[in-house]
């Protein structure tokens, strides 16, 4: 009898422990647990966490085993083999894990009691979350890849208190012992670890709006107070976490999404990003999950300055300029509000140049102080209107990747059908809604073709094709530039021959990038490949006119002539007319008429359909 009882007990016990291990197995692959550990599936069917610091894991195998980490976490929360004080400390280090597991497994754990965490929550006083998106700044197309951050909106927040709210930032954390050169290099190649941090929002507004002069978009997110609380509990855990910081993927945008998806059990924001997450993609994925509200717009220092200048006459501007240079105020027969406009303009303009051109403080600071003092004597409101919000906000822009199907007719060789792919991001002919006008950055743009005679070939490959055409105007003196590197084809008798090239230009543009806009650049070029047989150098010029007829039509006429040093031909040139017709946000038709000359001349006509995603 005893024996039977014993067997029964064993059977019962093993059934119980089986049930328990099944429970653990299921929980270990629960999407929420995987999100808490920042786990991603590996190619071999295992798991690996994106967190790179050992301290973030309780189990030594935690980085690669969600299950080990889960077991160790449960044991630690149970207080197995540890002092009560230690158990308490672990619970307070991982409040998001604790809160979630408490509802998922059988336990007799107490309510979370962590004074430091509670004090922190009380100061932040969270109610909502806002996604903050500083747009690119002029003359730096690379900043299109830019930055995003979060703002935690407090319960007692008003429009005028949002500067005091807290911002959650994900950034590379430099090693303090590195010198400036090392810092620059390591920062650029992204070898510093990434970490989350918190700081008053005004610090970020000063940085992006004022110092870097970038417009900021602020998207309130559709999240409940309870959901925001969950996000913050996990942020607290991330104090212990560092991430290998890569420039293109695993960057700030990606990591913010990884944090935000803790808001809900079924929210998955990161899985669609295997290769890249750039700010506009972040915005797009949040839009697709119905999390975005209509954004608020914060114009940059430069945007405001330019807008103020449009409200002044030439004479008023030159009087402001004289004041800036240390002269006295020419009052002419200005009324009080005109005088105030001149004083305010002189201050803002001088302050802008002080930062932008790194002017000498000894000389400039007393002038700035004097201008403010003069302004304070007039007890009237500022006469300037504020810049209006651009018609399209960034989430309304086209997708950042593009595929193209095209048919090209040549006068000197057989026609071809081609297929192209561009990884990112925006060129001058793409619809500008939601983008910075006059700036282009194409990254990894490749086109393959099948000729009608059956041959296949690489048509072009641009690793990078960047252009920044900030126009000169009454108050900004800007330089324009471009940089292009990759492979294309040039005419040689009855076929197109390949070349690898790098070219860069520097020059000026005029006009308004939102309407009609022209540029002229001096260029240097290096060629190699079949068409030249050896490395050749060239100098020349590139010029163009771009006309944005309306929101869906753009027309561009560009020309390029390069004189080659020590080559079989004196020069090569091209003349191109392009027309882009946007059918919808993510669909457009592009036609291109092109004449190219190298050994011989070729003329082609191309019709393409483009899809952005």
């Amino acid at each position: 009898m005893k024996k039977i009882l014993f067997v029964l007990l064993i059977a019962l016990f093993s059934a119980y422990s089986n049930a328990k291990s099944i429970e653990i197995n299921t929980l270990a692959t629960d999407p929420y647990w995987l999100k808490l550990g920042h786990y991603r599936p590996t190619t071999l069917g295992g798991w690996k966490s994106e967190v790179d610091s050992v301290k973030f894991f309780l189990s030594p195998k935690g980085k690669v085993s969600p299950k080990d980490e889960l077991n160790t976490t449960i044991n630690a929360f149970n207080g197995d083999n540890s002092l009560p004080q230690q158990t308490q400390q672990t619970r307070c280090q991982f409040p998001a894990r604790y809160t979630w597991l408490k509802t998922k497994i059988k336990n007799n754990w107490p309510e979370l009691n962590c004074p430091e965490l509670q004090a922190w929550q009380k100061i932040i006083n969270p109610k909502g979350v806002t996604l903050v998106f500083p747009t690119a700044f002029m003359n730096s197309p690379s900043s299109m890849f830019g930055h995003t951050l979060l703002r935690i909106d407090a319960k007692d927040q008003t429009r005028h208190k949002e500067l005091l709210a807290f911002a959650v930032n994900f950034a590379a954390e430099p090693d303090g012992s590195d010198n400036a050169a090392m810092y620059a290099l390591k920062g650029l190649i992204g070898s510093y670890p990434g970490k989350f941090s918190l700081m008053p929002y005004y610090k970020k507004v000063r940085e992006y709006n004022d110092l870097e002069s970038r417009d900021i978009w602020e998207y309130k997110l559709n999240l409940s107070e309870e959901q925001v609380k969950l996000i913050l509990l996990h942020l607290w855990e991330l104090q212990l976490a560092t991430f290998d910081y890569f420039f293109v993927d695993e960057n700030c945008s990606y990591q913010l999404l990884a944090l935000l998806q803790l808001a809900k059990d079924d929210l998955n924001l990161t899985s669609s990003f295997d290769l890249q997450a750039i700010p506009s993609d972040t915005v797009a994925v949040l839009r697709n999950n119905n999390l975005l509200q209509t954004p608020n717009y914060r114009p940059a220092f430069g945007t405001k300055l330019y807008h103020y200048s449009t409200q002044m006459t030439d004479e008023q501007l030159s009087d402001a300029r004289a004041l800036m240079q240390g002269g006295s105020l020419n009052t002419r027969n200005y009324c009080e509000s005109q005088l105030v406009a001149i004083l305010e303009m002189a201050y803002e303009w001088l302050n802008f140049e002080f930062y932008d051109k790194n002017l000498n403080r000894e000389e400039i600071a007393p002038r700035l102080a004097k201008l403010l003092l003069m302004r304070s004597k007039y007890k009237i409101a500022s006469p300037f209107s504020k810049p209006s919000r651009p018609a399209a906000s960034p989430e309304q822009g086209h997708g950042s990747s593009k595929i193209t199907l095209a048919r090209t007719h040549y006068n000197q060789q057989s026609d071809l059908t081609s297929f192209a792919y561009r990884l990112a991001y925006h060129d001058l002919l793409d619809t500008s809604a939601g983008f910075i006008p006059g700036a282009q950055i194409s990254f990894f743009d490749i086109e393959g073709a099948i000729k009608d005679n059956g041959n296949t070939q690489l048509e072009h490959f641009y690793l990078l094709d960047a252009m920044s055409l900030a126009p000169d105007n009454r108050i900004f003196d800007s330089w324009s530039w471009n940089l292009k590197m990759g492979f294309d084809r040039q005419p040689n008798n009855d076929f197109q021959q390949g070349r690898w090239f790098t070219k860069g230009g520097y020059g000026k543009s005029i006009g308004n990038p939102n309407t009609l806009h022209g540029y002229l650049l001096a260029q240097v070029e290096f060629n190699n490949g079949d068409i030249t047989d050896k490395l050749t150098t060239g100098v020349g010029t590139e010029a163009g006119v771009i006309w944005q007829i309306n929101n869906s039509h753009k027309l561009a006429l560009t020309t390029n002539i390069i004189w080659l040093v020590d080559a079989d031909v004196d020069n090569h040139a091209d003349l191109t007319l392009k027309w882009n017709y946007a059918l919808s946000r993510n669909l457009s038709i592009r036609t291109e008429l092109k004449n190219q000359r190298w050994y011989t001349s070729s003329t082609s006509a191309k019709l393409a359909i483009q899809y952005y995603f």
Partner: protein, 160 residues
């Protein structure tokens, strides 16, 4: 006010290692028109997204008091805000309006019905608050507090 001066004095001391993380920014030494970090840093910002090379922020930055323990007090918050917004505040005060001035009024606890008087006082007393281009944020705070203390309508908002 004594407390604020104490905070300011504290900030002049070299940071001990234990305090270093929380203490950055609690110093009230920022000068008006302090000038710009180099353009290299600006370009670099595109990849590191860090604010600058020598500041370390943690998850608790700005939530703790200047001594690194306890939560940040409202007068410390005001001091930090002025310190981080010197130019914008100077500009807004010279006009008697603007977001930075409005935020300061909120942080200072000025009631809605007194905000117009606060703005008008800030503009009228501009030269008494921003005394020169070399004024530091600590002096700005003290000057502003003095100006408020001697204003019949707003004296009750004086920080102690």
């Amino acid at each position: 006010m004594k407390k604020l001066i104490a905070v300011a004095a504290l900030s002049l001391l070299p940071f001990s290692n234990a305090m270093a993380d929380q203490d950055i920014g609690c110093g009230l030494g920022s000068m008006l028109f302090a000038g710009q970090q180099g353009k290299g840093v600006k370009i670099l910002g595109a990849t590191t997204n860090g604010t600058s090379g020598n500041q370390t922020f943690g998850i608790t930055f700005g939530t703790l008091g200047c001594d690194g323990t306890g939560t940040v007090t409202s007068s410390e918050k005001i001091a930090l805000f002025i310190d981080g917004n010197m130019e914008q505040l100077a500009r807004d005060m010279s006009k008697g309006e603007g977001e930075t001035l409005a935020t300061l009024a909120e942080a200072w606890g000025v009631a809605d019905q007194d905000k117009a008087a606060f703005n008008a006082l800030a503009q009228a007393q501009y030269s008494a608050v921003f005394t020169s281009e070399n004024v530091t944020s600590q002096t700005v705070l003290e000057n502003l507090n003095t100006v408020i203390a001697s204003d019949a309508k707003l004296a009750s908002y004086t920080l102690s």
